[in-house]
């Protein structure tokens, strides 16, 4: 991590600044489609999640899903954006095999959500990224090109699924910022429950606009749009390679053409889609099958009042109330489920222990098993119990780790594991005295050295005692007895 922004394309003579804007397509978490009542479920058999409306049969008409409107408004509120009480659905006209009506219903001039902003935490400080707009639109179906050499197969299951297109201002300046921006958007939408952000299933994808300019210049360069990038990593790679391509072109005296490009993930380069773009003229006009969408301020207010605590607010609270570092707070608020888990644990357990155990031990396990925290084998209650056993000195940190491992395997609660496995602390002074004496007898020479002033050998004795007790010895008692014995 650097503490100063430093992302430039550097060449022999120049430093180039990279200007990035994103159009994120986020699938609305609705059961049914934006304009029809067929299911949005992922991974079903081809053409089974399709209604006559989705496949554009003659005379079929769209009727809008109220839940999708709510989700768009909620997301708008989460982006601190202006909600437009009157918005209009337009048709975007183009021919493609998986676009059955020959047009996509979208919002063009009058989107449901206007300007807003998102705050990013970068190593060099916070950064505000402007949101231009958010609008609702339909997804297209899927064209499958690799099932036959001569034909394309068309599956309309996705046709008509509701998407929110979130358009940022050209405020992003590096792949890192893009990474942070997309993750932040995803976190906000997950908190709101408006988009599950699952990139593997295509619930979140983006068109990336890239241009370059010499450092210090005010005017934007000509931009290229990289279409449909479906992972954060690919976005970062695409930006880097596209920016370099543009710099090379300009420095060799050529001009950038404004165009749509495609990112080839295998070759790590973008290539022109111009041949396809040439014929495009989307001929937007208001969809005459739909009327203007008018929502009441009270509808917006009602949603606003029911909004959950959003990540920025929660982070602030975690830092102030629980004395977390910004890094720790960021980690713990990154998912609503994580912050809920954390808050559940600290209802009874020590905050400091809790944050460390969650961030280090629990995350290691979840990562390893590729689990969501809500499916964690260690429940928040069990973790709290374990931490309380540490706090009260009933088990040592070392034993706690052992117990935790067993908790991960069995899902059992800690006291049961401790009992079953005989991991209780050895707190009987007589037993401990026996062990200690035994250790000291075996290390007579070291006692002499210790007494001669080599005080750091004290740790060695403690270690040996713990080893001899399989880590179960009560450290406080060991301390007391050992000191006494060594004085003899």
């Amino acid at each position: 991590m650097k503490d100063k922004f430093d992302y430039f394309i550097k060449t022999e003579n120049n430093k180039w600044e990279v200007i990035i804007g994103l159009e994120v397509h986020a699938q609305v978490t609705s059961k049914s489609k934006l304009f029809s009542s067929s299911s949005t479920k992922f991974g079903e058999k081809p053409n089974t999640q399709v209604s006559l409306v989705d496949s554009a049969f003659p005379g079929m008409l769209p009727v809008i899903n109220k839940f999708c409107i709510e989700q768009a408004v909620k997301t708008g509120l989460g982006l601190n954006a202006k909600i437009n009480l009157r918005s209009i659905f337009d048709r975007k006209n183009y021919f493609y095999a998986d676009l059955p009506a020959g047009y996509q219903i979208s919002q063009y001039k009058n989107p449901i959500v206007g300007e807003g902003s998102v705050t990013l935490d970068m190593p060099y400080g916070t950064k505000k990224v402007g949101i231009e707009r958010l609008h609702l639109e339909q997804d297209a179906g899927k064209s499958i090109h690799d099932l036959s050499p001569d034909n394309t197969f068309v599956d309309l299951n996705r046709s008509g699924v509701a998407l929110m297109e979130i358009v940022s201002k050209p405020d992003l300046r590096s792949p890192d910022e893009v990474n942070s921006y997309v993750k932040k958007l995803r976190t906000i939408m997950r908190y709101l429950g408006t988009c599950d952000g699952n990139m593997q299933e295509g619930s979140l994808r983006a068109d990336v606009n890239v241009s370059v300019r010499k450092q210090g210049e005010k005017k934007f360069g000509t931009r290229c749009e990289i279409k449909n990038v479906n992972s954060i990593k690919f976005m970062e790679m695409a930006i880097e390679s596209e920016a370099k391509r543009q710099v090379e072109l300009i420095e060799s005296g050529k001009k950038i053409e404004q165009e749509t490009r495609l990112f080839d993930t295998k070759k790590n380069e973008t290539r022109s889609m111009r041949s396809k773009e040439e014929a495009h003229d989307y001929r937007y006009f208001p969809d005459p099958d739909l009327l203007p969408l008018v929502i009441k301020q009270s509808f917006v207010d009602n949603l606003k009042n029911k909004l959950p605590e959003l990540p920025d607010k929660k982070k602030e609270r975690f830092i102030n109330k629980f004395k977390l570092t910004p890094y720790e707070a960021n980690v713990l608020i990154s998912e609503n489920n994580i912050s809920e888990y954390f808050e559940e644990v600290i209802k009874t357990a020590d905050i400091k222990l809790a944050k460390n155990w969650i961030i280090v031990e629990l995350f290691a396990v979840l990562n390893d098993k590729n689990l969501d925290i809500k499916d964690s084998p260690v429940s928040s209650k069990n973790l709290a119990n374990l931490l309380n056993l540490i706090s009260s000195g009933e088990i040592s940190g070392k034993i706690a780790k052992k117990v935790f491992e067993l908790m991960v395997q069995s899902g059992d609660e800690p006291s049961k594991i401790i009992k079953d496995k005989g991991l209780q602390q050895q707190s009987d002074p007589k037993e401990l005295e026996k062990i200690i004496k035994n250790v000291l007898e075996k290390n007579f020479d070291k006692i002499t050295q210790y007494k001669a002033g080599k005080e750091k050998l004290y740790g060695f004795f403690v270690g040996e005692v713990m080893k001899a007790s399989s880590g179960k010895a009560n450290p406080k008692l060991v301390n007391d007895i050992l000191k006494k014995e060594l004085k003899k």
């Binding site: 089974t48 209604s51 409306v53 394309t152 014929a279 203007p292």
Partner: protein, 95 residues
Amino acid sequence: MPIDKNQVKKVAKLSRISLDDSKLESLSNDLISILNFVEQLNKLDTNEIKPLTSIIDKSLDTRDDSVSDGQIRDQILKNSPEKNEDFFIVPKVVD
């Protein structure tokens, strides 16, 4: 002239309608006369007028988010000129 033959060709391309040259001639003439006819509107000053967005004075009705459609693959595919059990089949898409 409101439109020339090249523009007609372009519009035909956008509309995905192939036109042979014999058709192009007569169609272009028709389009010219229709466009000349509609250009009467230019006599009217409409700078201050807001365009009409819908003819009825009503906001959009909504429906609840419940699944009550789909699972009719055979109906969906039934009328298709080329299909198999699962998919619509079209000639190869070339980028």
